[in-house]
Amino acid sequence: MPSSDTTPQVAIVSESKAKPRLTVALRATLVRELSRMRRRRGEVLNPLVFYALAISLFPLGISPEADLLTAIAPGLLWVMALFATLLSLDGLFRSDFDDGSLEQMMLSPQPLAALSVTKVAAHWLLTGVPLAVMAPLLGVMLALPLHSYGVLMVSLALGSASLSLIGGIGAALTVGLPRGGVLLSLLVLPLYIPVLIFGSGAVQAAVVGDAVLPHLAMLGALLAAALIFAPWAIAASLRISING
């Protein structure tokens, strides 16, 4: 505890000096998220392992026949990526909620929407991007033609950013509930459907050699819409959860 040495007079910060520097706060939040996840590798790896495991169940459950697998591969890879993302969402705000960090974020002079979107961005970097990188590996196992791997990765990387943003809303709404996990999937999965349609559509188009760009453009449009609407929805939901 501090020794009672010469205590300076307490100063009141006036309007002009109170200008908070947003970039400092955002960069620090991103660094904080990444270093937290570096120490909780399981949190990052589990969705990836789930993805690989779940995909490998399908040939066992349906048939190892290559033609059939090729036909269903785009859908499978996308649906399972959806589930893997969903699995990681519950932890997005949970520990910060429990230890009181969210409360501090809310009380800081920075906008809560910007801080929480930074957390979502970290989530995407550590869940969506690894899923996209890993998908071609599973594509091989599902006899997906080689020429569609690029589109698979791009569509997953682009689409999973929307998934993280939309899922962030659900995570923020359920973070105050003791068992929000199942409810979270009920809230979020219907909202994921457009991303699923255009994402798997892109891969399917790539497999049969159709134009891929319209699908990817739609994924981009969805991401733009999510970037506009999700931040305020996440911030509003977090406020509700914290003060519940």
Partner: protein
Amino acid sequence: MTLCLQGRQLGCERDDRWLFSGLDIEINHGEILRVTGPNGSGKTTLLKILAGQLNDFSGALHWNGQPLSQVSEQFAANMLYLGHAPGVSAWLTPLENLAWYQALQGERGSEEQREAALARMGLQGLEDTPIGHLSAGQQRRVALTRLSLTPRALWVLDEPFTAIDQAGVDALEAQLAAHADAGGAVVVTTHHALNNARPLCHIALG
């Protein structure tokens, strides 16, 4: 510089039940306000309202004469709130946690500054140990380090004495008194009787 947080006719309703109502509060520089009351009487809720965290309450809050909602940014830059939960992440070290707090305020700070502040709280040698490995009292001390690291005029502290040892309690008490002496103000909930000769105001809820 003066400091004044005024609450008039504060009341809070939760699912048709009034936790408290008609509360008039005024906190000026040099004062320590202690809020007491039985469990469930709304101490934490009152503190959240005074910290500008809750906005569904009745009554009005003024910061230096202006409605709080109009000067919320300025208020946030002068107020430090410590809640029930210490607000430190178990997976980060004390230094990382404090760096993040400073950054939230828009300050970069320096590693030496943070190390010195931790040392003053008796946490030297633990700077790089993840919080999860520390005891509850040590975690609370890390959170309390913010009091000296990010100087703020108004402190709103919810049960700050929880989990810390007797020496820590005495030191924190002295720190609160010193803060008030220096022209700051403190709002605190605690079951622990503050035994010093400060101009102590007292509000009992419930």
